[in-house]
């Protein structure tokens, strides 16, 4: 993790949540925890706290609660700039796993 970012945010989990959402534009607790190979509970707590404080918004898709930055929060553009800078400084392996996820559709019956 980036020490300065962790110092500002006060929590490794908070940094992970924000960096993930910055990289992917949205996400749910389990996939964020999986991306950083960490426990689910602290990630969920951070997501709930950030939503409560107006930084994130969420919506349910099926049975999954998906979070993203609240576009109406005036601090979001500058925060994203900071997070993009942090993301640039991440180890290549983590950066690639966050940025190069498959987004295009895949038919249900299509073989891998």
């Amino acid at each position: 993790m980036i020490a300065v970012l962790e110092a500002i945010l006060g929590s490794t989990s908070a940094e992970r949540v924000l960096v993930f959402l910055c990289a992917r534009e949205g996400g749910y607790a389990a996939e964020i925890a999986r991306a950083f190979a960490t426990d689910l509970s602290p990630i969920q707590k951070q997501l709930e706290r950030m939503e409560r404080d107006g930084l994130l918004i969420s919506r349910t898709i099926g049975r999954t609660r998906v979070y993203e930055f609240n576009p109406r929060n005036p601090f979001v553009p500058e925060l994203k700039s900071l997070l993009r800078k942090a993301l640039d400084l991440y180890p290549e392996q983590i950066k690639e796993s966050l940025l190069l996820d498959r987004r295009r559709p895949r038919k249900k019956s299509k073989p891998l």
Binding site: D53, L55, N73, P74
Partner: protein, 183 residues
């Protein structure tokens, strides 16, 4: 004083605003309840969204509002309910903004009632607030609410046009004017 359950939205909002002010907490009503008040309840919001512009802690707000019988549910959230009222109360985080535009404390509207003075968004800022939801979230209900308020109250169209330009929504302003004129 009438029981909480018998108060109108405006009365309850004013009572809350006054009570919080007496505890040193300055709040401004925002969101759907402004639409309800400005549209004479043609749109019915289920909650009162107050922005705390004095930046007090959630604990201070909870202590103040609990004196009226409101309970913090779930605990440590920004959400409060009263056993006798259908209206819940929320405190979305400050600052008071509509889109990118900051609204200073001096630019809010006030409505006086027997139970206190309510501070709330002006009709023009209420329209911007609803339109921001429409532009950011494609929420068509909010577009209808913006038109509802603008038809019921004088709106500063110059300010609204400038706001649209700053938001990069020039086409949205044209669409809104067409709807306002019933075209």
């Amino acid at each position: 004083m009438k029981p909480i359950g018998e108060l109108s939205r405006l009365e309850l909002a004013a009572l809350l605003c006054e009570t919080l002010k007496n505890h040193g907490i300055d709040v401004v009503l925002s969101g759907g309840s402004c639409v309800s008040i400005y549209s004479s309840e043609r749109y019915v919001s289920k909650d009162l969204d107050f922005i705390d512009i004095s930046l007090k802690s959630n604990r201070q707000i909870a202590q103040a509002i609990q004196s009226l019988g409101f309970e913090n549910r779930p605990r440590n959230s920004r959400h409060f309910t009263h056993p006798d009222s259908n209206l819940s109360v929320e405190f979305p985080s400050a600052p008071l903004t509509v889109g990118e535009e900051y609204i200073p404390s001096s630019a809010v509207n006030t409505l006086s009632t027997d139970l206190g003075t309510l501070r709330l968004l002006t009709p023009t800022d209420c329209v911007k607030d609803r339109l921001a939801n429409y532009y950011y979230f494609r929420d068509n209900q909010c577009l209808e609410q913006a038109v509802l308020v603008a038809k019921a109250h004088p709106i500063d169209l110059n300010s609204l046009e400038t706001w649209h330009k700053n938001e990069g929504q020039e086409q949205g302003f044209k669409q809104f004017l067409r709807l306002l004129q019933g075209k």
